[in-house]
Each structure stands twice: as structure tokens, then as C-alpha cells.
Symmetry: C2
Subunit: 213 residues, 2 copies
């Protein structure tokens, strides 16, 4: 009853499902195929997961929370916002390159209607620390004064684009170079610039601090 980690069958199912889903999509992967490939009976899958959707949701939640933990790793120890953020970036890259299946899974299903809304929301909640970090940066003037949500969105999407690009190249040296360039892109984008300006001509930042919704 102690329960922790129960059966490894459950884990086998999750692991197999992850591989098959990324490769063939939810639709293209019958539950029977998952159980067969995982070396268990059909019934076993439905013993651990009430429905197929339950399996998908569980997988999504698990990966999302693991990813968040990975991004956060060691960040608190860093001294400044700038270094913290760079650390997050490096963590993200490391996570994605180490666990390509998980990364592709997220990439594919981040906007999928297969995944329940609640799972999506819960997934987001793990990344709140990032939002806070950004808010700190803006407050202390390291980051450019602008909508926090915007910074986060763009930060996240740039990171994922960067990662995707990096994974195209097999050579580790090349990868390191791209990583450096990409992170520098991102930093230049979010960092406060002394001369103000930027691209948008006038650029009035009279931030109406309206928190919508």
C-alpha cells in the first residue's frame, strides 16, 4: 500500500505511449498497439488509465512538470536576474536535447485539443516561477519595461524555436555555437537598452498597467 512507484508496468505504458505518440500522433496510435509494444495486456492499460484520454492527460502533465523542474534546476542559486534567465535558457536547451521525445511531444501537443483544458492549465502553473523571474527583472530594470506576459510568451516561443533549430544539427560543436547565438538573440531582445530606442520609432511605453482577465 505504501504505493510509491507502484508497478513498472504503468511506467512501461507511459514510456511506450510517449514514443508512439510523438512518432504517430494520438490518432494513429491504437491503445492495443501501446499495450502490445509495452508488453502488457489491453486490460492492464485500462486498469491504470480509465480512458485513452486519461493516459494522454497523465503523460502531458508528467512531462510538463518534469520540464518545468528541469528549467528551474539551479536557478535559485544564481545571483542576478540576468544569469538566472540565462541559466533557464541553458537548462531548456539541455532538457530538450537530452530528451528529444519529450520535447517533440510538448511541441506537438502544446496546442492540441486532445489534451484537456484542465491539463493545459495545470501545465502552465508549473511555469509561474518564470513569470515571477521576468517580473523581478523588469522591476529592477534589467529587463525592458513591458508587459510581463508578452516577455514570457516571446521568451518561451523563441526558446522553443531555437531548440528546434538546434536539434536539426547533429554536430555538438555546431550546436553549442547555435545555442550561444540563440541565447544572445533572446537576451538582446529582452534586455533593457540604455539608449532606449529600438525599432518602433516613437515607442511610447506608457504602460497602462491593466491586468485583463
Amino acid at each position: 500500500m505504501s504505493s510509491v512507484e507502484a508497478t513498472d508496468k504503468r511506467d512501461a505504458i507511459l514510456k511506450t505511449a510517449l514514443a508512439l505518440f510523438t512518432e504517430r500522433g494520438f490518432y494513429g496510435t491504437p491503445t492495443a498497439m501501446i499495450s502490445r509494444e509495452a508488453g502488457v495486456a489491453t486490460g492492464t492499460l485500462f486498469f491504470y488509465f480509465k480512458t485513452k484520454e486519461d493516459l494522454i492527460d497523465t503523460l502531458y502533465r508528467q512531462i510538463k512538470s518534469q520540464a518545468a523542474a528541469a528549467l528551474r534546476e539551479g536557478v535559485d542559486r544564481e545571483p542576478t536576474v540576468q544569469v538566472k534567465i540565462r541559466k533557464v535558457g541553458e537548462n531548456a536547451l539541455a532538457w530538450a536535447t537530452t530528451r528529444p521525445d519529450e520535447f517533440r511531444f510538448m511541441e506537438q501537443f502544446a496546442h492540441s485539443p486532445f489534451v484537456s483544458t484542465t491539463a493545459h492549465e495545470e501545465g502552465m502553473s508549473h511555469f509561474l516561477f518564470l513569470e515571477e523571474l521576468v517580473r523581478d527583472g523588469v522591476r529592477e530594470g534589467t529587463l525592458r519595461e513591458c508587459d510581463t506576459g508578452l516577455l514570457c510568451s516571446v521568451l518561451a516561443s523563441s526558446l522553443s524555436g531555437l531548440t528546434a533549430r538546434i536539434m536539426e544539427s547533429p554536430d555538438p560543436g555546431q550546436r553549442a555555437l547555435l545555442a550561444r547565438q540563440g541565447l544572445s538573440f533572446i537576451w538582446n531582445g529582452i534586455a533593457a537598452h540604455p539608449d532606449g530606442e529600438s525599432c518602433g520609432g516613437t515607442h511610447k511605453i506608457t504602460t497602462t498597467k491593466k491586468r485583463s482577465r
Copy 2:
């Protein structure tokens, strides 16, 4: 014989499929539902599209090419690389906010295994002009010296993240503000910076920014 626009039934099917797919996913949308909703018989759908996958592919191709055309709109007329790129950004934002369904469709299925590889590749080909634009920018020194593919990837993903964030806010004023800030983020990321550095090399950001206050 003039032919243009053949049947509007075909268009109705495509339009309905678009709406249903974005809302319920490929899996969750039976062909029967599409045809019913579009006001045609099941057979008609399969008259115009050999299979369901064919329908999906066609839709994907169509939207992707429309999007590319929209992004390109008026760019050639602009004088400098900087303005051209800003124009592309504005076009992208305008396209996405005008056609939310199409945007969400792309967002959802850009990495989907449902879409055939050839369709994915063909889709990419429409965006070659962007790559060229970036290459020009790098050559003439406006953009930072680094891997073109990287610049493109990150440019594209930032834009899509920015767009997603913008669409969350209903207020046009707020949207405009976010757009300005977001585009400025991107420009700062890709632009060459006078103080050299850019991205390669050592990259010590020893900006000991003592916060004065």
C-alpha cells in the same frame, strides 16, 4: 469554361473543415460531420478529396501559401532590410488577427504527423523569401552575423509567440502596444549591435549594471 472557382461546394467543405479541425482536432472530426455542416452529402466530400488526409493536406497547403503571400505583401516596395522585416512582422500580426482560425490551424498542425511530409515541405518553400531577406540583412551588416537558419527559426517562432499573446487581449489599443513592444523585442534580437559582440565568440556579458536609484 472560364472555370474560376469551380464549385463553391468544395470551398464550403474546406471552410467548414477548417473551423471544425481547429476546434475539435482532426481526430475528433468525422468526415460525416464536415459534410453535414457544410451542407453537402458524404459522397461529395470524397468526390473533391480522395481521402480525409487529402482534405487535410489541401487545407494545410492552401493556408500556408495564403499566409506566405500575406507576409510578403508590399515588402518588395520597402527600401531597407530593416523596414522590410518590420513590414513582414506587421503583416504577420495583421494576418493572424484577421484570420484567427487559420492562425490557430497553423499553430496546431505545424508539427502534426497528420500532415504529410510533402505538404510540410511544400509549405516551407513558400517562406524561402524570408530566408533570402535575412541573408541580405546579414550580408549588408544590418543583421547580426550568425546562422541564417537560426535567425529565421527564431524570428518565426518569436512572431508566432507574440501573435498568440496578442490574440489573448481583445482591446485594440492594448494589442497595438503589445505589437510595438513585441516587434521591438524581435528587432533587438536580430539587429546587429554597434558595440560589436553580436553572438559568436566569447560573449562575456559582464554588464555589471549596478542599479542606481
